[in-house]
Structures are given as C-alpha cells and as structure tokens.
C-alpha cells in the first residue's frame, strides 16, 4: 500500500476515519493550513467550488504550500515555484521544461456535508467504504447554531472519554447541568455496536435552569430532560438534550467534532444547536458565551489530565460501573488501531 499519510504522522491515531477539518464557510479561494494526524494539510476550493485537501509541504524542500499562491486550480510554492494541480501532481517547475518524474504531494479525499469539510487522511481507496454521520441540525431550517474552535493540549481519546462520562458535567460545569443531575443521576442506558456507543437517560421533571427558562419565556417552569449521547467515530460525538416543558419540547444538539492534531494534541470544533429562540440574537450570544465557557473548562481539565500523564505516565486506574461507555470507546479506538496495523499500547489514556 502506498504511503499517503502526512509526513511525521503520529503513530497511534486512527487514520481510517473521516475527520471534520473545517467548516465549509472557512474553505474558500484562500489557502488554509490545518494540522491533523501529525501532519500538515492544505485546504482550498477550486474555481468550480470543489474542496481540495493536499499535503501542505512542497515535494522539493521543506516549505508549506499554504505560504504560496493559488493560481486557478493550481498551487505554486512560495519558495521554489513548483506548481501542483488539485490532485497533488507537480505540473511545472521553474528551472526546467520537464517535470521531475513522479513529483507530487499527497491528495486526500474530501466530502462536504452539513456545513462541514470532511477529509480522509487514511488509505485513499478505503475512503469510499466509510460514511460520515448525518448532522442535519447544523444546517436545517428551524435550528440556530452557535459554535467555536478550541485547540487542546490533550490526546483525542481523553476528550472522547470525557464526553462518554456524562457524570462529569455537574463537576465541570454545575450551572449548565439540569438540577436533577447533581443530586440524583438517573440510571444510564448504554447501547453498543461494533463501531458506536450510545448513552441514554431520562431525568425526572425538575426546575429548568434559569437561562433556559428565560429563553423559552416560561419562568419557573419544570422540564423533564431526555439525554442521548452518541460516539459515532473518533471524529464525532453528538449529544441530544430534549426538554419537555409546560409549553412544548425544547431540543438542543451538541456536536463535538474532534481532530487529533497529533498523539497528544487535539482540536475541538464545537457546535450547540437549538430549536427554540432561534431568531433571538441575545439568546445566541448567551449560549455562545455560556457553552464557550464550558468547552474552555473542558479544555483546561483535559490539559491538566494530559499533563499528569506526560509527567508521571499512565498509572493503574480504578473503573466503576458507570465507566462502561468510556471503556467501550477506548476499546473501539484500540480495535481500529489494531486493524490498521498501527503500533500502540493499551495503556489507559494513551492510545
């Protein structure tokens, strides 16, 4: 099989997976540089509007193509002037009429959907055997979405295990959690498949948090929340919170798009979508700041955990029954690495 990974790819990150490297709106006729899976990736849009992902390093010398220029659908290196087409083939060099035989940079399969740009950094032929999860609330009418991007100095698996452990929310962010979560967490249902983990639980009716009662315009209302969280792949966690209140159902969708930058750094594109108060800009601002704070706290907690691992290495861990989802996520990721033939250790938190 050909070597198609970006140079310097981290060993233990699953490559057979579509990762959401950017929002569709971020990719245009400029050259966008992104790091993923231990290597540099260049994104741009062709004149016809197709998204192109190339290895962001000139085949001639160490220099990012993103520091060069887009000319039609080709990219010219800003240092040596090598020109590459949208398939990564070198099509001209300034100093000779013949192009060096086989000179190219890797070109990665791309997909666009639900307002996101998905890139396949694994074996290109296998891309068509895998699908991306459907996240219709990100673009469908009837929903309003806020979001942001957080760079996190922690491995991607730490993030996923955090999302899998929904019991952490009241400790990390007490004010956004339903009142019922803190004192009497309802029993968790965990639903497994070969490649996915789903968590579900139903909270009894309790007073809505202030922010939500205000946005819904139902002061002092009671609401019964049903939560369903999904691990779709190493790239995506979604979390559904549906609140049945006195005046209807308010739905929220949390979309957490994880990109392993390398073995111990990640990028999190987070989105919070709601189907209430969708035309109210202050509601959007409030949600942006509230959940922006929440993901900032997740970042800080994960970086602290990674720092412990960096300093003292993985240690024995005590698991409790409620960890079953997080452990299953770890098992799925380890299975992917094993199937890809990647060397890895089964150390906790170090994929």
């Amino acid at each position: 099989m050909s070597s198609t990974r970006p140079p310097g790819a981290a060993g233990a990150v699953p490559t057979d997976c579509w990762y959401a490297l950017a929002a569709s709106a971020e990719v245009d006729r400029r050259l966008l540089a992104v790091r993923a899976l231990g290597g540099p990736v260049l994104l741009f849009r062709t004149q016809a509007g197709r998204v192109v992902a190339l290895e962001d390093r000139c085949a001639h010398r160490a220099y990012p193509l993103s520091a060069g220029a887009l000319d039609g659908d080709t990219v010219r290196c800003g240092l040596c002037g090598f020109v590459y087409d949208s398939d990564g083939r070198c099509v001209s060099v300034p100093t000779q009429s013949r192009v060096p035989f086989g000179a190219h940079v890797a070109a990665y399969p791309t997909l666009e959907g639900d307002g996101l740009v998905w890139v396949w950094l694994g074996e290109p032929g296998r891309a068509r055997l895998h699908r991306v999860p459907e996240l219709p609330w990100l673009t469908e009418p009837g929903w309003a979405t806020v979001g942001g991007t957080v760079g996190i100095e922690a491995g991607f698996l730490l993030l996923h295990e955090n999302f899998a452990d929904v019991t952490q929310v009241p400790f990390v962010a007490p004010e956004i959690a339903p009142a019922a979560l803190a004192d009497a967490p309802p029993p968790l249902e965990v639903i497994l498949t070969e490649t996915t983990v789903e968590l579900g639980r139903a909270f009894p009716a309790s007073p809505l948090p202030d922010w939500q009662a205000q946005m819904l315009g139902v002061a002092e209302a009671q609401g019964a929340t049903v939560q369903r969280a999904f691990f779709h792949s190493p790239a995506v966690w979604t979390d559904h919170w549906d609140v049945e209140h006195d005046a209807g159902t308010a739905r929220m969708r949390f979309t957490q798009l994880v990109t392993p930058v390398d073995g111990r750094r990640s990028r999190l594109h987070w989105r919070v979508s709601r189907d209430f108060a969708i035309d109210d800009p202050t509601a959007g601002e409030r949600m942006h700041s509230m959940f922006g704070d929440y993901y900032e706290r997740v970042r800080a907690a994960m970086e602290t955990a990674q720092a412990v691992l960096d300093l003292d290495g993985p240690g024995p861990e005590v698991n409790v029954a409620a960890d079953v989802a997080a452990l299953r996520v770890r098992e799925i990721v380890h299975g992917m690495l094993a199937d890809e033939g990647q060397p890895f250790t089964r150390d906790p938190n170090r994929p």
Partner: protein, 323 residues
C-alpha cells in the same frame, strides 16, 4: 448519590425484509431495511448480526455494502440438519416480514496487511465478500480460493468472477477437495490468511497454519461451536469477584459465570450462550481461565486476559473480572 449502575444492551432494531433473492442452490440473500429513518449503525468487514427468528437467535455475517445506512444484507444457507434458524429464514421469511436484528458486532476484523489469502468453504464466503472489497480498495495483493459442493451451490460466483485470476473456484464435484497444501504451502511475508467455512476446513487450515505460518497470521470464524467437553471429573465450583462492581459471588458447578452475574442483578451483554458470538467477552484480572469458546484463538486464550463468560469457566479457585 444514588446508584447509577448502567444497563447495557446491544443496538437492536426491527427491520423489514425488503427483498429475498436466491443467490445459489439453497442460499437466500435477505436485504433487511430500516423503516425508522434513524439509520443503521456502521460496521466493518467481518461483522455479523443476530437475527431473532421466532424463539431462536442466530448469527449471520453482513455481506452487503458497509456504507449503506438504510439496510443490511445477509445470505443464509438452508442447512440439511438445521437447528431451526436456517429453516425459519427459508420457510417463514418473505418480503415484508419483520425481523429483530441485534448488533452489528465483529470478532473477525480485517487487519491491514500487504497481502491476503482468503479461503472460503460454501456459505463461509459471506464475511469474506466485504473483506475482498476492502482489500481491493486498499490496493493490497489478494487471492481467494472458494470451495463448495458444486458450482451451483456456491453463492456470488458471478460477482467474484469479475475479479478474474485473483479468484479460484474449486467446486468439489469438479476438482475434489481444496488443495490446502498448495494454497498455504509457502507462507508469504506481511500476508494474512482469512478463512471461513465448515469445521473440517477450519480445522485443516488451522493445523497447516500452525505448522508453517507465523503466529497471528491466521484469522478464522466459526459458524458453529467447536466441541468443548466438560472434564470427566465434572464441573467445579469457584469464587467470582467482580472488581468494578465490588461484588463477590459463588459459581456452582451447574451454573455459568454469565448466569451468576445476571442473577446478581448486574447488566452484562450476552447473545448466543454457546461461545461463538463473542458478545459476553469480559476482561480477566485474576484466575486461570478454562476457555471453552470458539471466538478467541489459541494465543488470545493463552493471554488469559479475556474470556467468554457464557461457556468458559475457571481452573483456579478464584476468578476476578474487571466488571
């Protein structure tokens, strides 16, 4: 804090038989479609699902397109000595029938390699079909030897003929039994062997690979349980500690580890109760496991770090599971 012990279950969906196609003598292909609109979970080559057929639960490999979120495809041979499952599929299921499907799960994953030798016997072709598509997409070298009783009894020969010389068809009535010495005689480097078929074929391939191939090169899947006998002296009792739950239990000679865990009110997954589906696998922290399953291979069993609690037991007095 209140108790938050989770309940654990596998994904389950009621699917509708969208089509039934005869793909060989005695073999029916079923396309099982999702009607809920929720979409079906993704799977990878080698995965299987449970079909709940009346009071029976049977495992069938997925042999369709892994990117199809709207349906699963299985192919079922009518077994001469059916234990009820294949007869139910052939006699009771028709277009429009509803079937409960659990899973998918995968204990036969395709591990990345430069080269593959696939060996299929009869209906054992089913898990290999998506593997072959993936090997082809990966640009790997591969070869399939596909044996069967007669050409007419072999499913998907038209599809496979499209791969040309990479597939050798070996109907027994034309060429005799598979020449395994020729197929497996010279082990290749960075080459994996994937085999699925009837027990005599699996046993012969296992024996050959043990002699000549590096450990771990052979991957196979059993459709029926390997014969595992209870010791002549009878089953023994032992103590069972569930470390994560903080519970100590007793396993009497006449009860399985699985039943003892369930009876203690702790949620564990289980499906076939014969040691073939791999659903009830648990991590072992302590104790000498008496493996009776057909899922773990020899080296996995020797590692003593996992067991199928539906059939396997313990040779020492105390078994500690990470549960």
């Amino acid at each position: 804090m209140a108790e938050t012990r989770p309940t654990l279950r596998e994904h389950e969906a009621e699917l509708v038989v969208a089509s039934v196609t005869a793909v060989a003598e005695g073999v029916r292909e079923l396309r099982l479609a999702d009607q809920s609109g929720a979409g079906l979970p993704p799977w990878t080559p080698g995965a299987h699902v449970d079909l709940v057929l009346g009071g029976l639960v049977r495992q069938y490999s997925l042999c369709g397109d892994p990117t199809d979120a709207s349906s699963y495809t299985v192919a079922v041979l009518r077994e001469q000595e059916s234990r009820g499952g294949s007869a139910f599929v052939h006699d009771q299921l028709a277009e429009g029938s509803r079937v409960t499907v659990r899973g998918p799960r995968n204990h036969f994953p395709l591990v990345s390699a430069r080269s593959y030798r696939f060996i299929a016997g009869g209906i054992g072709i089913t898990p290999l079909l998506p593997m072959i598509a993936e090997a082809e997409a990966s640009g790997a070298e591969w070869h399939l030897t596909y044996g069967g009783r007669t050409r007419g009894s072999m499913a998907y020969t038209d599809l496979l003929a499209g791969y040309g010389e990479r597939v050798t068809f070996a109907p027994a009535d034309e060429v005799g039994l598979l020449d395994l010495d020729a197929i497996l005689g010279c082990p290749g480097s960075d080459t994996l062997v994937y085999c699925c078929g009837p027990e005599p074929l699996l046993a012969a391939v296992e024996a050959l690979c043990e002699r000549a191939w590096p450990p771990g090169a052979l991957h196979l899947e059993r459709f029926a349980a390997k014969a595992a006998e209870a010791p002549a002296t009878g089953e023994r009792a032992f103590e069972l500690v569930l470390a994560g739950s903080g519970v100590t239990l007793q396993v009497p000679p006449d009860k399985s580890v699985f039943d003892v865990i369930q009876d203690a009110g702790i949620s564990v997954l289980g499906s076939c109760h014969e040691g073939i589906c791999g659903t009830c696998e648990q991590a072992v922290l302590e104790g000498e496991v008496d493996h009776r399953d057909s899922v773990l291979n020899e080296s996995e069993q020797a590692a003593n770090d996992a067991m199928m609690v539906c059939v396997s037991r313990c040779l020492s007095d105390r078994l500690v599971l990470d549960l």
